[in-house]
Subunit: 208 residues, 4 copies
DNA sequence: GATGAATGAGTTTTCATTCAT
DNA sequence: AATGAATGAAAACTCATTCAT
């Protein structure tokens, strides 16, 4: 019986946490972090306010969890890319379309901007986002280095990494303001941009 | 003395409004729209809370004013660009560096993301931002068309316009998370990207 | 224990609402609707300000509840009167004394005038009071018709109904200004007045 | 020149006070005492807020002035009645129609109820209203005694005086709630009521 | 485990009143 | 005499959080 319990006990909590996170994400997307009240979240989660506090010590902790999940999501997507240089460049561009589509999903976009805006003002969330970003950047550094097939000056490499971040987060940002972009055309432009980022020889020298 | 007065009397209100807008922008950058209380703004403005309401009917009206000023700022920058196609392409790239520097100013960046996050949930602010965006897009459509020297499919042109928005707003977005980007390298990457956006023939056909 | 609970659980909210309404009525009588702050009401109710808002969505909703209760109170008093014409005329006059006593209770009087003053300017409360009044008037029309034993011109009947309203509400009004009226003498005058209202043949023709 | 001044100086202030009182009465009728702001009054009076304070030390002082004027108005109307008993009874009933019409003027009615409601809560205004009422009551006592042609027990007389107050103030009260009363029919009923008040022998004995 | 009643500090906004000009 | 800029205390209302049941 203890085994049955052990097998159920933990999932119970996991399920509850999921309910809460989904409900919260839903509210946050619609109203933003500050305009979503715990009462709204508990309504959406089908759970009492007080009960949420058994699973999360505060509203901010819910936000933090959502930020972490969002980062892990991206990381797992990046981990699916091949590691050998030959396929990588093609794979990166092939994936561009998927990336564009994901970044321009209204739900994804709304949450992205809400998270970044919160990171700008709330140091705790800011640290979390930066930490998550650093992990993604590390992956991107490896991918870009491999795709370009030669070592880059660190600052140059970092700038190219930023360009990757920038493009996909920028798409989400734009989606919030203008949801009617032609995704096909945008994907093509993103591919050309990736080409530019991966092909040009030296961003630092040329810049002078 | 009446003349001195006449020259100062009207500005009095203008000066007050400026004080308030500057104080508010300062608070908004640091804490966001919702975490900035009218009390904080009035402290920062060196003015009583009640007095702010002589100049703005609500907190939202202050936000709206700041949004409008931000848009006008960009529009006036775009208006400085030459209109003849010959210089335009070069000018656009020359201006890229200025644009990157502006977009990566921490103050500018923080306000940009705050405004967009607010636009995502507050319909009134959303409409204002979209309206301002539309004006900027119109300018950009003319500039890109002129620089490319030939007509583009409207959806294709719009996508290229979005790429311009996306890059500069994306830079602000990234600045909030990672303020230490090498601006020189980033400027060079942006120039290459602008080249890609202005040179490639047809984003819609290739995309198929 | 569940039964005990079931018997107490629902009343909990009812008890709370009562506490709030009683506290509010008390404040309203003493200071009026607008000079009674939610803080005062919550003090009087022995409850936090925020908690009141679990039971009433706004201060105006509290006022509306009190207005409704006041009207229901009068209606239930009228419903106790006999329906057959024979007893009615006597009953109306017998009840006059009770009516006078009720209308000249200082608490009742203060609330009555506060409600009417509010109805004069607040359209929502005005509608509520008129609606409640209409119900009472309907009752009074039936009672007067029955007591007079013959049909009256509608405008004539309505005027007599208004005289009933006027007398009892007027007593409350006067009580607020002059609480020391001799209730016995006043009751007698009211009885004579009711006689006048119920006996005279035709108010419209004579008026010409 | 001093004489000219003296003849103008005082009127200037008098005119200003009038402007303020008229504007205030207008606002008070529409929004009530508490919902009328000094800014609204000053707008209506075509005068700056600060300037009003040259003529009235506070908002309450304006209210007090209006209350006093209202009372004087009624007193001067009563003073017009004949003093000899023969005509008086007829005059009182003749005047009933005028009284009914005045009391049911919406403007008059709105102010009357606002004043009484304020008197119920604000001791200073309460005292003022009672004082004014006392003067009117004194007049009414004389008129009723004269009209009845014989001495009444003081409490009896006072009750009849109250009935007079009650009827006309009650009409104002009802007008606020139901402005569509048939004034002709109401006047007739009021005349019958006045008959009842002036004819019946002894309110105190009969009441036992 | 689960509820939701209860708190009170905090929010935006209004307004009578003062006072320098 | 006249203005209206300026104040700040108070209002209605919200909400994250706690805790008895």
């Amino acid at each position: 019986m203890d085994q049955v319990r052990a097998a159920e006990e933990k999932p119970r909590a996991v399920v509850r946490r999921r309910q809460i996170l989904d409900a919260a994400a839903c509210c946050f997307r619609r109203y933003g972090f500050h305009a979503s009240s715990m009462a709204q979240i508990s309504d959406e989660a089908g759970m009492s306010v007080g009960h949420i506090y058994r699973y999360f010590p505060s509203k901010e902790a819910i936000i933090a969890s959502i930020v972490r999940e969002d980062a892990n999501d991206i990381l797992s997507k990046l981990a699916e890319l091949p590691c050998d240089a030959a396929d990588l460049r093609a794979a990166l561009k092939d994936r561009a379309e998927l990336g564009v589509n994901r970044a321009s999903e209204p739900d994804q976009a709304a949450l992205m901007i809400e998270i970044r805006a919160e990171a700008a003002r709330n140091p705790a969330i800011g640290a979390l986002v930066r930490e998550a970003d650093a992990k993604i950047s590390e992956q991107l550094r490896a991918l870009i280095s491999a795709a370009m097939g030669r070592p880059l000056d660190p600052a140059d490499l970092d700038a190219r990494v930023e360009m990757f971040h920038l493009i996909f987060q920028g798409i989400s940002l734009r989606t919030v303001i203008n949801p009617d972009i032609d995704r096909k055309a945008l994907s093509q432009l993103v591919k050309w941009t990736i080409d530019a980022i991966l092909n040009e020889p030296n961003a630092l020298k040329s810049a002078i």
